[in-house]
């Protein structure tokens, strides 16, 4: 039975590279509404098919289909649309600001606006999100002041984090948005701990953690899921599978072998695989997982299947490693367009109102940017340098006091 053929090292490689046409024929897209919806209290055994399909609500005509359709008011949908459009406008504008030397760095979430906006609106104000750098739409949906964003991005005197952190690595406690850091994955377990603390206190707040599909390879991912599963933590853990991790396609993180939602099976918890460009599907999945968490039924893992339409960051040029037409050929469309079509189909929206909203948002962003420019852009304005010596500890020790003196600042 034992064959003695030579072994061979398999290195995953995406279907297409620059110079060839993008090919998404491997993406299976079930019809909207075709996936069953168990009760949120379902046992893990009764959910083991869900990681291998794709929960979708919006059909090609923008109609909501099937059991996952969330019951949303027009207001909620408009808020979601607004948050996503605002994110898009803001991203485009601040990305350009980098070219103009106004900031050191920027990252866009183009094409992924639904995955932050829907959970932000679906969850309670006192729940806490443990974000990645690509869920700005969470903040947009909660009305975080644009000036704060711009001031941090410009690292100017009004930077709410006092110049200590990179642009886009926000922290906004009052908006349920936990402190970001450059390390990927290392806050995933904080979401679990935070939610366990809530359970320890007999509170009702739950947590939501995001991680990129590339970053699921970190040990932190497994440790977070292990703790969540063992202590039945009231947490929703989301993998944003946007197909790319800088230049590495999802196969380098394991997508050749199975789905990221299937990681849930390892821990005996439900794993939902969701069309991440479908605002309603994302909302529904989060609502389902939240009900589970709030009912002491434990954690849920959600794979948000989407596509990173822009480059990784201002330091990146994606045409070096993927076909130029990939974004255009992505089979799940654009989350903003799709929600717009849905609203129009509901009779609750039209092109004019859409264009008007776009203009308003554009003006809002312009105003915020102008305000930030008035304070100053990178290098032209910054918080007082002596502030860099503050906040290392709750109260400073002699080292920073001496060094502050020594620095002459």
């Amino acid at each position: 039975m034992v064959t003695t053929i030579a072994l061979h090292l398999h290195i995953p490689e995406p279907v297409s590279r620059p110079g060839t046409e993008a090919d998404f024929s491997w993406v299976e897209v079930p019809a909207a509404g075709s996936v069953r919806r168990p009760e949120p209290t379902a046992a893990d055994e009764d959910t083991r098919d869900l990681p291998y399909t794709l929960i979708r609500v919006l059909d090609e005509d923008g109609r909501a289909q099937g059991p996952w359709t969330p019951r949303l008011t027009g207001d909620q949908l408009h808020q979601g649309l607004r948050a996503m459009m605002l994110t898009r406008v803001f991203d485009d504008r601040l990305f350009r600001a980098h070219r103009q030397g106004k900031t050191s760095f920027y990252m866009k979430s183009t094409g992924e606006e639904a995955i932050g906006a829907a959970p932000s609106l679906a969850l309670d104000p006192h729940d806490m999100c443990f974000p990645t750098y690509r869920v700005l739409s969470w903040l947009m949906a909660r009305g975080y002041p644009l000036e704060n964003l711009v001031n941090q991005i410009f690292s100017n005197a009004k930077d709410p984090l006092k110049g200590r952190q990179l642009p886009v690595l926000y922290s906004a406690r009052d908006y349920g948005f936990y402190s970001l850091s450059g390390n990927v994955g290392s806050r995933f377990g904080h979401a679990v701990g935070w939610s366990m603390a809530s359970a320890y206190r007999g509170d009702t707040r739950i947590a939501l953690g995001y991680i990129g599909e590339g970053s699921t390879a970190e040990g932190d991912f497994h440790e977070a899921l292990t703790f969540a599963s063992v202590y039945r933590a009231p947490v929703i853990l989301c993998v944003t599978n946007n197909q790319w991790a800088i230049s590495s396609y999802a196969g380098i993180a394991g997508a050749e072998a199975t789905t990221f939602a299937a990681r849930a099976v390892a821990y005996g918890i439900p794993g939902l695989r969701v069309d991440g460009n479908d605002f309603l599907a994302v909302w529904a999945a989060i609502e389902w997982a939240a009900a589970r968490a709030r009912g002491n039924c434990g954690p849920t893992l959600i794979e948000l299947f989407t596509y990173r339409a822009a480059g990784h960051s201002t330091s990146d040029d994606p045409t070096r490693y993927r076909p130029a037409d990939e974004a255009a050929r992505w089979p799940l469309g654009d989350p903003i367009e799709r929600l717009k079509t849905h609203l129009v189909a509901r009779g609750d929206w039209d092109d004019e109102r859409h264009a008007a909203l776009a203009r308003t948002l554009d003006e809002e962003v312009r105003t915020a940017v102008r305000q930030g420019e008035a304070v100053g852009t990178l290098g032209k304005s910054k918080p007082p340098a002596r502030e860099m010596f503050e906040g290392v500890f709750a109260s400073p020790d002699w080292r920073v006091l001496e060094q502050l003196r020594e620095s002459g600042l």
Partner: protein
């Protein structure tokens, strides 16, 4: 006042905080029902309930990450890492997250966690149950590192660490758990019962972080030590017959620089003792600081007595472990200088 060994004193500190503060909780490998492999959490689960003191998966990174999240929520978790050698899988969580959370979020979030861990040698634990990793923590901006050397300090420092709003690494010299070991491994083991610092008050008290203790006053030279090495140094001083002043640092971050500088300013000679391997160890920092601040008082080169630059070798425990003989020899050398 009850006499306690170090395990009992640490247990008393935890018991006190669990009783006083509903937001304080304990978790770690084997700390729950069983009470910890060194018995430091014995009885706490029975006394305070399962959710106040419970077992954790074998995942040091997960333990620290979970604690940080709890701390950010508003709890005050105390976690045990079974051996300091096993903190390393959690090193990124400590450095990139716990230590930096307050600074990077401009005070919106912080991690008031205490990480207890037995450390150091002298128990024939071999490579991975004997190491002294304090230097790598001391270098991390945003972490505090505390190391008691006796039961009284252990309780007071641990309570101070738990009440501190910053992340504290609390290293427990495991060779001292049951007695004030002075490195004379061939003599009968001493017990805490006969030691003044084994008188441990009931209830809450603190030994503030950042204040060293002058264990022995002296005029001829200054010896800087912490943990087990405090007792070894004392023995070495006795053997040397030199009237050395012995300072127990008690916490290395924050460091009580004043007490150090005052002493070396007076004696003009300095010996630094630690168990960790020498190269890049915390002794380098201490030596540099003393040299920078007491240069014109120094009569002789500052000496370092430390572990050799090799992994901790099981069968050679007593060849490797810096004992009183090496301290006495270093003292003799610093007295020659000048």
């Amino acid at each position: 006042m009850p006499t306690m060994n170090m395990v009992q004193a640490l247990n008393a500190a935890l018991d006190c905080k669990l009783a006083q503060d509903a937001d304080c909780l304990i978790f770690g490998e084997d700390v729950g029902y069983f009470g910890g492999v060194f018995r430091v959490t014995e009885g706490l689960q029975a006394r305070h309930g399962r959710k106040r003191c419970f077992d954790a998966p074998i995942s040091e990174g997960g333990i620290i990450a979970t604690a940080i999240g709890m701390g950010a929520f508003g709890l005050r978790p105390v976690v045990e890492i079974q051996f300091a050698d096993y903190i390393l899988p959690a090193f990124d969580q400590l450095v990139s997250e716990a230590a930096r959370l307050r600074y990077r979020s401009n005070g919106e979030f912080w991690a008031p966690i205490t990480v207890r861990s037995p450390y150091g040698g002298g128990i024939f634990g071999g490579q991975t149950h004997s190491q002294s990793p304090e230097a790598i923590f001391a270098h991390v901006t945003g972490l505090k590192t505390v190391i008691p050397s006796n039961p009284f300090d252990a309780k007071g420092l641990l309570i101070a660490a738990i009440e501190d709003d910053d992340p504290v690494i609390f290293l427990e010299p495991k060779r001292l758990y049951n007695g004030p070991f002075d490195g004379r491994h061939d003599r009968p083991a001493a017990s805490w019962a006969d030691h003044a610092a084994a008188e441990v008050p009931d209830g809450r008290y603190v030994v503030p972080l950042g204040s060293a203790a002058v264990v022995r006053e002296g005029e001829a030279a200054t010896v800087l030590a912490y943990g087990t090495m405090v007792h070894v140094a004392l023995a070495g001083i006795a053997d040397s017959g030199i009237d050395a002043e012995l300072i127990d640092l008690r916490s290395i971050v924050p460091l009580d620089i004043e007490t150090i500088v005052d002493s070396v300013g007076k004696t003009g000679r300095c010996v630094i003792v630690h168990e960790a391997s020498r190269f890049g160890g915390f002794g380098g920092e201490l030596s540099a600081l003393v040299q920078e601040r007491c240069f014109y008082h120094l009569e002789a080169p500052i000496e370092r007595v430390a572990g050799y630059d090799i992994p901790y070798p099981h069968a050679f425990e007593w060849d490797y472990f810096p004992g009183p003989r090496r301290v006495a020899a270093a003292l003799a050398r610093v007295m020659e200088g000048g």
